[in-house]
């Protein structure tokens, strides 16, 4: 009897120890932490990565990885707060400051810029100028790596987000930055996205503000520029293939507005053939008949076999 009580007490002790210290007897591994991150379990991922960072050799690649993981996790813990954002920034900054050669450094600097650009919680004020500065630093520091193109794209977008009517100086600066980049990097993996974003920006705010102001000529000029960018995307391939229906409709309507009937016919036809489930195929048929062009039949078999833009061989996506 005494023996049984003793064994039971021992078991109880072991169980309670396990409950109090869940990591007892279970070593944290990078795989566990990564799995938690992949499953968006931010709290658990943060605990795992933070524990790994503590035990890793300072400034080693393992430390950089664990610190990066902890920063990524804490920046996404919810409810989002200034405190979490600050913790993440501190961790990313520690990687940038102490392990300049790590493969996590460029992305850490990029994430610092993202933290500045994004609203994390209601009332959070984006720091667009601060973000642009860091994006450009990434592009300048790692100019031959593909993260440079992503950073340039983000810098341009942060400029555009100023929507600084009426002169749109920042919007124009963003456009110039991207146009210079695409001219110098004709095989960039982000080329399709860059042209699509340029097309979007020529459209809104530039053509829209002209339209609302009643300046039809200016509106048409911007339509033409926007259309030229979308033409490029169409020839490269749509990154969000299958969802390009609304853009194709915009292209068709802009083409008609500037009197470019062949272009309008091309885009109305693409709507029917590429995105018959976008909802605009029937109206495209009507438009084609109105323009005196043949109207293909609507085939509702989804045609998303249109392949997304593919990365040119041999190019890294990002780092």
């Amino acid at each position: 009897m005494i023996l049984r009580i003793g064994i039971n007490s021992l078991l109880l002790l072991i169980l309670s120890t396990g409950a109090l210290f869940p990591s007892f007897g279970h070593a944290q591994t990078m795989e566990d932490a990564r799995d938690e991150l992949a499953a968006f379990n931010w709290d658990a991922a943060y605990k795992h990565f933070a524990a790994l960072a503590k035990t890793a050799k300072p400034q080693s690649e393992t430390w950089a990885q664990a610190t990066f993981g902890a920063a990524a996790a804490v920046s996404n813990r919810q409810p989002a707060s200034q405190d979490f954002a600050d913790q993440a920034a501190k961790l990313y900054q520690s990687i940038v400051d102490t392990t300049p050669q790590s493969k996590f450094t460029a992305r850490s600097l990029m994430k610092l810029a993202r933290l500045k650009e994004l609203r994390d919680y209601p009332g959070d004020k984006p720091d667009l100028d601060g973000a642009v500065e860091l994006y450009l630093k990434v592009a300048a520091t790692w100019p031959d790596e593909s993260i440079a193109s992503e950073a340039t794209l983000r810098a341009a977008a942060a400029r555009v987000q100023a929507y600084d009517a009426p002169d749109f100086a920042n919007v124009s600066a963003g456009i110039s930055l991207l146009e210079k980049w695409v001219a110098e990097h004709p095989k960039d993996p982000y080329l399709s996205i860059m042209y699509q974003y340029l097309g979007d920006t020529y459209f809104l705010p530039l053509s829209t503000s002209a339209r609302i102001a009643g300046d039809t000529e200016k509106m048409k000029q911007y339509y033409a520029k926007s259309l030229a960018c979308y033409d490029k995307v169409n020839s490269i391939g749509w990154t969000d293939a299958g969802n390009q229906g609304p853009i194709l409709w915009r292209c068709a309507v802009m083409s008609e507005a500037i009197g470019n009937t062949p272009s309008a016919i091309k885009y109305y036809t693409l709507i029917i053939n590429q995105t018959p489930t976008s909802g605009k195929a029937y109206e495209s048929q009507l438009a084609l008949r109105r323009l005196g062009a043949p109207a293909p039949e609507i085939d509702l078999i989804h045609k998303s076999s249109v392949q997304p833009a593919t990365r040119p061989a041999g190019q890294e996506v990002s780092r």
């Binding site: 990078m30 929507y163 409709w249 909802g279 609507i298 997304p308 990365r311």
Partner: protein
Amino acid sequence: MNALKRYRRRGKINGSMIGVVLLIGTVLASLGLVIKNIRDIEHPTKTTIRICHWQLEAGYRDAMNAVIAEYEKLHPDIQIVQMPVTEKVYTQWINTQLISGTAPDLCEMGKSNLIDKDEYTVQFFVPLGEEVVKPNPYNAGTALEGAMWKETFRDGMRGGFRDTLQDYYSVPTTSISMRMFCNVDLIKTVTGSAQVPKSLGQLIKVCEQVRKYSFETPGIGGRIIPIVSCYGSPAVTNPYLVPFTAKLESELDLDLDGQCSTIESYRGIITGVAGSNSPVIQAYWMAMKQLCDQMQQGFSQMDRQQAQFQFSNGNAAFMATGSWDAAGTYLGAKSQGFAIELADWPLPGPGEPYYEFIAGRANEAASRGAGPYGLYRSSAHKEEALDFLRFLTSVKGNEMLNDLSGWPPIVLGSQPSEKMLPFMPNPDGFTSSLKMGIGSRVGSVLEAESVAYLQGEKSLDAFLSVYDKSLTAPRSDSDWRSDGDWACWKDFDQRWRDCRNQERLLTRDEAIELMQPNAYSADRYRRTVLQQLRRNNGADYQYLFKLFRGKPLPTF
């Protein structure tokens, strides 16, 4: 009873013992039932897969059982258990199962925040992006052999794609659409012709004849109603919104995406292009009043079961509902001995009132698959469950499921039954419409006030005046912000939150790329970057608001 009294008299049993005996008996019976159920579910030698849903409509469970039987023939070592749960408790039931880690292997997706909200979806369900690009082996020997699983669906499996998570989290199994059910025998009895009305004018005329017949025919006493709706007035009025307001697109669609968004509609209403006094809006509501006058008094109180009961018993000439009610309705009609025809809600024809406002019918090309099932993350038999899902959405399996349940199939090549042909998505027609429900606050006012108007409780002017006030009136003398402004702010608020949520996807992918490059999807990453960029953290929305309101977007 006499024996009991005898025992009592002899002191061998007392009153309190009866309670104890009953209690023990109940416990034993419950235990036996639980053991039996567990033995039924957990077959000792087979792998058991459980699938849960809330589809209790006639035919669906039998159809699912038929598909299960067919699958089990191919896989004798697997047992599939169907778990139908009434939709009234599905939310609570599935929440409990998910949290306790005991959810079925395959769950119908919907009705619960733990299923619908991204942060929970990723915790409880398996992303299927890697699987849907592989061919469905059960399509071998069909025209779809070798095709990617996702490409074998009419909607390209978009019904299972989560834009915000950039992955597939469910697989749709059917398609849905709304139609007007017509009791052609009743129409023939009343009008002398079995012709289903082809225009709104004809429909109103037939309805008026039905009402007259109902009140003037001895023995009926007004029992027969021209129109019943399973889902209140919206099921009748919504099909007319696109036909009446699609022409506004050319003036309202500022971003030229082919739709009138909330902010575009708001601009249209406050600038007068589509305001309450505009001819098209007045015409729409007057036409809807004429239509709803054909329903019974106080129609908003009639629920789905009551409407079906009335129609199935031959007490209504027309019914508004969807494809999911078709099988039960056909069964009811058969037992009552009348024939049903399905049609679109007819539009005003040439020469009829309101014809000049009509663009054309609303199309259904963009309709998405329904009845989606997700794979539970903690399932002990993921591969087997996924395999059954492939069978369920193969040409043969999907045809069987939908044919027997009387629903339209979603898989290409699965033939719809003859009765389901009219429910197949029609790509002809228009898509854009004015959004009068600008945000949830104005939406609530619109819903309540429009029903009051359509039921004859208030005039059109009174209804629209309350609506206008809700949309545009400043909240107070010192606060210029209106509920319409609030709706725009709400959209902006959602936009930046979407961007922030997309950053979570990007963060995950960036970490995976650096830590586990072979699991990284560059396509997914770039798609998310593009979608996030195009939302501009909501700054474009702030800009548009300022452009047409002349004031910065307020905060709330």
